[in-house]
Symmetry: C3
């Protein structure tokens, strides 16, 4: 319906849209859609972070992709769902909070849309809630390797839906980005682990 297209700010040429949403999680969904748009003839139309009581200190999400052909949008969502198992690999939580780490050697359009990171370059995400842990991890990451900061999001300064998280996004040389993410992950697991049970990956670490 073109009236709804307009209210949703969606170009009329996208006759078909694909929707990926979650109650718990935004980073894994964005990373998964990023792989999906690399693999299919689709475009990322919007990425929104949502507050959700299922999301602990973190986010839920709503991602909309568009295609001119319905089979492309459907294929993209299939690819994203297959990729979610991997992109949830470095999400850790316990009763005290949660940690999330993401890394890709080549960012695509979902990452650009969501975080303003440069397409085609290496990208890393360091996130933790409560936000105080996130500040420590952001500091750890930028000291661990020579990376460029894309963004720093916090509860009151934008980039989060006022959630109790800090999200640091980085780009640069792929080895340095990966090293910064791994250094933050090491400290994060120690810090969160000292506040509660051992934080365990919900699937299998991939970075």
């Amino acid at each position: 319906d073109y009236q709804l297209h307009e209210k949703m700010n969606i170009d009329k040429k996208y006759r078909s849209i694909g929707i990926l949403g979650a109650r718990t999680g935004a980073g894994p969904e964005i990373m998964a859609i990023d792989e999906a748009v690399k693999a299919t003839n689709t475009e990322v139309l919007s990425v929104e972070l949502a507050r959700d009581t299922k999301g602990g200190a973190g986010h839920g999400s709503l991602i909309i992709i568009g295609s001119e052909d319905v089979s492309d949008a459907r294929r993209a969502i299939e690819v994203a769902l297959e990729t979610l198992n991997q992109t949830n690999g470095d999400v850790y939580s316990n009763e005290a909070g949660h940690l999330e780490f993401q890394y890709t050697a080549r960012a695509s359009f979902a990452i650009e849309k969501a975080f303003g990171a440069p397409v085609g370059k290496s990208f890393g995400l360091i996130c933790a809630g409560p936000a105080a842990i996130g500040v420590v991890l952001a500091d750890t990451a930028v000291k661990a390797a020579n990376v460029e900061v894309v963004g720093y999001a916090s509860p009151g300064n934008g980039g989060t839906a006022h959630s109790n998280e800090v999200i640091l996004t980085i780009t640069g040389d792929s080895g340095a980005v990966r090293q910064a993410v791994i250094a933050a992950r090491e400290i994060g697991l120690k810090l969160l682990g000292s506040m509660g049970a051992d934080p365990v990956s919900v699937t299998k670490p991939y970075i």
Copy 2:
């Protein structure tokens, strides 16, 4: 106190105010106040949506009405409380999310204040969380009948308190508005039901 009136943006002429708030729910409260202002000599001063951990993926609310005479504000709150049982009739939820539908043949000032819908015309509301379901229902509603879209609210684009919901509001011919709401309800109950237990009305469906 006039100092507080000013900070709350309330005209001094309202010597008496009535307050309706909820931890879980905003739509039913707005619809109930809408009936209350039709029936009494009061005005809707503000309608605010709140995030609340009791609200699941959805909202709590704070609604303030004003009257020059204290008995009017009191009567309006009484009417609203009596009406809540009905306006909660098409609220459904299970462990996966929630659905809400509202319909009136004649919108009044609470609906205008909250959603910008035209007074005196038919009004429908289609809401679902997680937001991904809401996108599908919005699409269903506008395709089901010839209605005019008043607003489309989503987690990151305004109209929600960053909650994990999509809210579509519509106006137009009363038969068409009702038809659009019922079509969305049918699909919504199927969709949410496929993700968890059978979604049941918290009171009794009224649309």
Copy 3:
């Protein structure tokens, strides 16, 4: 790292930062940091309110302080942690909601940063969730004594992270401020108590 300093809007001169965060609570943390900066050579760099599922209808928080010397920031956090027991003294909750009251005869820079209240003057905070209770308490407070309203924060009008709370902040003569806070506390305990179990202080009332 100076790149991160810039993204966080932190002056380079602060070679050391201290971080105080919470999943449940913002007022007690702000008041505790306020005592800490009075007692140490530190500055409050940012105060952010966060939404957090552990926070009920209320807030979590992230507060960052800076110092040129690492021992100052560390000492300030120690002072704040010691003070938290007191500043949590007039926080009350039950299954229906929560109340918070704060009072100091002399506000310092954390209170100024967080609420815009004048430094060196008496300061009071009246907060309740759900927000409807907060409106009643704000009205009670300003009628109880001749105080000046610093701010009125509500779910949709700023000053909260869209949480289901109203926060009234006041200044003025220290006797009047204290009297207004105590009057609101009395009504708040009655109101919340009528909606659920007896609200009990989490530590020991101090006002």
